[in-house]
Amino acid sequence: MEAELATERISVIDADEPVMLVPEPPGPRVVSRFEFNLLRILKFILGQFPAEQATGLIQTRHAPAPHCLSRNCVQLVKDHLSKGLVQYLVRSGGWRRDRFLNGQKPVEGRVWERLPLQIRQLTFSRHPLTFLIWLTAERPTDPKETWELSPGELTAGDELFFAMALDAIRSPMPDVFQVFSGKPAFRQNPLCWLFSPADFARAEQPEPPVLAGYFKGTRATILECLQPVLHQRWVRAERSKGQIADWRTLRQYGEAESITLARFLAEAGLIGRTDLARFILKTAATILGNAELTPAFWTGGLQGSGPPRLADRLEAQRAALALPRHIETLQNWDRRARTVRHFDDEYASSQLWLAEWEAAKGDELAARARRVIDLLEPLRT
């Protein structure tokens, strides 16, 4: 089924270029040394090449980029992007027999059974390729030529690619990661924020990009496929907060997470795609599943007495509890869903949310979240 999907979703570098199925030449394709390195870096981003070997490739400045790439190389990049990203989405969760909304009606099945082809097609602009050329030619931490782009030019496929790139370098190359996370292609990429808001925690107030685009079309499809991955990421992020020793870092992480949750849930509620917030509900169910949970789960790692002002200490601790604070929004959806009558347009979608809320024991989670928040508050009566 994956192979069939991959064939269906042949991706193109230029959206205007017609899709062509080029017959494979006999034997391996011949590429230059530069192109060979570029392809290995691409495979690393797609999770098909070891990080240890890719680190050397990325952190070394190679020969200047050629004026153009060979047809063989471009074909291989297309092939890797189209198959690699589709495979990633299918493996992440697209293969699951799941239920999501399609025009306010819940539809069950695997992603290719639920949705028509036109909203499961990934297209790519020239940006992933220019990025790969730059990454192969330059040392990202000390480039001779910079690489920048306007985030508005990115397609859904590009955004997924850049989110995967940032994700791939996070652990093996923290210095490169620092450089990337400051670039608009990543900083203004909604998927990067959804994967890990903490990546963009800064001293100043974090400002996530507009997330509204992720509730319709291909981007919504991507989000449907990524639900299990996002659930896993957010659970990991919540658990790791308890290991943070620095008060300021914890506050910044919490603030970035809180604003991302607030914007995401606001858009989901407004557009009526509450099903795409399933990963948040599941994260809450995993984290708040323990009835004995206290704020120490999030703040237990803090070292020292913290900032001199009690107000700042309290703000850091409150920020750490971003997830429990936003459960209230999910509970409001539940309350609203209960008021929808069977002849209303949103009846089916409301029923889907009610079913998910009940399956996750949402009321219990909300009560636990409130209790944990209250435990942190001074003057609780």
Partner: protein, 190 residues
């Protein structure tokens, strides 16, 4: 032959240094009666405990350097501690210069003055930190004192609300209150 000369530079700094800290949280009042009636009961109870009503409907009590402001409708409570002090700092320093080598008297005096200014700034900063610590300590102390008092306020408001609710339901025939346990029994004839 070089001649040594001695310069004494004196510098002073007068400043009002401040330290402040505040927390804002919510007190939970059970919704036994409609919110506006609960707010009225809460306000009445707080006024009896020395709070003064402000123009915006909030009530405030100032106790030394700590102020407690409650918004009865939302239950939002702000506890603020402020410390301010006027400090007069002085510093002087003697330096020796030589008339044939090194900087001239004017330049030397200016340099020393600059050093003294920086030193006084550091001292002022330390004073500010001291006041900040004091403000935070006062706030923590105030919170410790306020906690049981607020508990009593909420208890009283809840009891009064229950009595009113009972009166709305029928004729109260008996009320028994146990001050120790906080138990309240109301018998109502409907």
């Amino acid at each position: 032959m070089s001649r040594a000369y001695r310069i004494t530079v004196k510098e002073g700094l007068n400043r009002e240094v401040k330290g402040s800290d505040e927390i804002c949280t919510k007190i939970e009042v059970l919704e036994i009666l409609p919110p506006e009636q609960m707010a009225e009961l809460l306000k009445r109870e707080l006024l009896e405990r020395g709070f003064k009503e402000n123009e915006d409907g909030t009530v405030t009590r100032i106790d030394g350097t700590v102020s407690v402001t409650v918004e009865p409708c939302s239950g939002e409570i702000t506890v603020k501690s402020e410390s301010a002090e006027k400090v007069s700092l002085e510093a002087n320093r003697e330096v020796t210069g030589y008339d044939d080598v090194g900087p001239g008297e004017g330049a030397l005096r200016e340099r020393v003055r600059e050093q003294l200014k920086q030193e006084l700034e550091r001292k002022a900063e330390r004073e500010s930190e001291r006041l900040q610590t004091e403000a935070t300590k006062n706030l923590e102390q105030a919170l410790d004192d306020l906690q049981p008092e607020l508990g009593k306020v909420i208890n009283k408001v809840t009891r009064d609300a229950l009595k009113q609710k009972a009166a709305q339901m029928g004729t109260i025939t008996e009320i028994a209150e146990d001050a120790e346990t906080g138990n309240l029994t109301i018998k109502v004839e409907v």
